[in-house]
């Protein structure tokens, strides 16, 4: 077909978490520029399967940029060189014919490789479970518009809520820090009235779990913000720090006993 591309792929192959991996070079031929990056990998995998080789393992699910399942560190960028998109929304027209593309898994001790390009991101689930929720009593549901919320606050909370938890921030950060993810979750819940009762306990338990998982610290380089497919803002990190320090240093943490 006219206008199709031939590419060279350098792909990280690793059998499982226990073995060490290596790069393997593959040819991706007759690739339509209209394919998504994952569809291109599907074509390569089909070829591998036909030859009787093990297909390249990579994470994917919705393929419409909202589930946060796809990953891939492509040519030095999490989710590839295009801003504000996930790998499934990255099209092959972003690359040029004859290009060599290096594909690596997310690199972080908290994200161990499961196989090839797939990593275990359950550390994010555990951070979320530590406090990333709002406790609501059961009973009659209240009218959603009963509590007035300023537009700015609602917008900030909703912008942070667009985080899909893909882990690109960790992959992009030179310290493999999860601060952008955790701060997005803390902001999304902490700004809205429904999240207020647990605001200060939430930030403490989520940060504690984040440290527990072995993510690095934040140097405020802003690489996470630049690479985030949902363009989550760095200001969330400052907001989380503010909540964390005021919780730790100034808030009432328990009921007073007789002596104090």
């Amino acid at each position: 077909m006219n206008g199709n591309m031939n590419l060279t792929l350098k792909v990280w192959r690793q059998k499982n978490a226990q073995t060490s991996g290596k790069f393997v070079t593959y040819k991706a031929e007759a690739i339509s520029p209209d394919m998504s990056f994952l569809e291109m990998l599907d074509v390569v995998n089909e070829g591998l399967t036909h030859k009787g080789d093990e297909p390249i393992n990579f994470d994917h699910d919705c393929r419409e940029g909202i589930c946060g399942m796809c990953s891939l560190y492509i040519n030095g960028h999490p989710h590839g060189p295009k801003r504000g998109v996930t790998t499934c929304q990255l099209h092959m027209r972003t690359f040029h014919d004859g290009e060599t593309i290096t594909i690596e898994p997310w690199r972080a001790s908290a994200f161990p490789v499961v196989k090839d390009l797939a990593v275990d991101r359950s550390a994010f689930d555990r951070i979320q479970q530590a406090g990333g929720y709002v406790s609501v009593n059961t009973g009659v549901s209240t009218d959603g518009n009963a509590i007035p919320i300023p537009k700015v606050i609602a917008d900030e909370a909703f912008n942070s809520a667009t985080c899909i938890g893909c882990g690109a921030c960790v992959a992009a950060c030179k310290n493999a820090s999860a601060m952008l993810f955790v701060s997005a979750k803390v902001t999304q819940l902490g700004l809205l009235p429904q999240g207020q009762p647990e605001r200060y306990s939430r930030v403490q338990s989520m940060v504690a779990q984040m440290d527990e998982e072995g993510f690095g610290s934040c140097t405020n380089t802003g690489a996470c913000e630049a690479e985030c497919p949902k363009e989550i803002k760095l200001t969330n990190i400052a907001r989380m720090n503010n909540d964390f320090f005021s919780a730790k240093l100034f808030r009432e943490e328990g009921v007073h006993d007789a002596k104090h």
Partner: protein
């Protein structure tokens, strides 16, 4: 007590210590550059030597000086601890270096800080240590005719062993006898390689503060749509341009002035 320990042992707590010590060191260099402007006064070190004498004999300043030394050590030590932890967060690196949009200085704070630490050790060894311990460091006597305001200077050899400084007025002539740190400055800044080292170190200071000053505010959680641009402007123009330029001008000025 254990709760406070827990706070400062968390990843955010360690960054809080970095931010607070860093900002304290920022306030120090304002005073340091201000006082050292006396080096430009062309009075054979009269103002500078009296200022150096004041700094070392005024008790509150001596107390602050020890807090300062502690801050430098803590800032460097925590930087090391955090860096080791961050490296552990990504045991396997990427084949393609991250290309995310992040400033050079933000990614090289450790390198810049190491240059500055080396500089501080050499700088303090040459001036602070010699001022406090070197029996060879001479004294100078400044005689100011109070009627005409004219000052003459001469080398002074103390009579007593433990002489530190004196101010007296005889026949309408004010006599000030102080340690001649200025002579040490003249000698040090007459070597081209020493001047070059100082200029390089001030370049490192510039890039360190270009990121560090505003990053400290982010770590503390003080980010605001209205005030953050002001913090950026101060961090860039005052801390990363004006202060390093003034500091670097001192050795350069002495090198060329005392040459011809």
């Amino acid at each position: 007590m254990s709760e406070i320990k827990q706070t400062f042992n968390s990843s955010l707590g360690k960054k809080l210590i970095m931010a607070l010590t860093g900002l304290f060191l920022c306030t120090f260099i304002i005073v340091h550059v201000g006082g050292n402007l006396l080096l430009f006064s062309n009075d054979n070190g009269f103002g500078f030597n009296v200022y150096a004498n004041f700094l070392t004999h005024f008790p509150p300043i001596e107390v602050i000086a020890y807090i300062l030394y502690l801050s430098i050590v803590v800032h460097a030590l925590y930087a090391l601890i955090i860096t080791v932890k961050n490296r552990k967060s990504r045991p396997v690196g990427y084949a393609v270096q991250p290309k995310a949009d992040a400033s050079w200085s933000s990614k090289n704070m450790g390198l810049l800080g190491s240059i500055l630490f080396l500089f501080i050790v050499i700088h303090m060894g040459d001036f602070w240590f010699k001022y406090h311990n070197d029996k060879q460091m001479g004294f100078k006597e400044y005689r100011t005719d109070l009627a005409t305001g004219k000052t003459t200077d001469a080398v002074y050899t103390p009579v007593q062993e433990d002489f530190s400084h004196s101010v007296s007025v005889e026949n309408n002539v004010e006599i000030v006898r102080v340690k001649d740190l200025h002579a040490r400055v003249v000698v040090a800044f007459s070597q081209w390689w020493y001047v070059l080292f100082y200029v390089i170190a001030m370049g490192a200071l510039s890039f360190h503060l270009l990121h560090g000053f505003q990053s400290a505010f982010r770590t503390l959680g003080w980010v605001h749509r209205k005030y953050t641009p002001i913090v950026y402007a101060i961090g860039t123009w005052f801390f990363a341009v004006i202060i390093p330029l003034l500091f670097a001008a001192m050795p350069v000025y002495y090198f060329f002035m005392h040459k011809g």
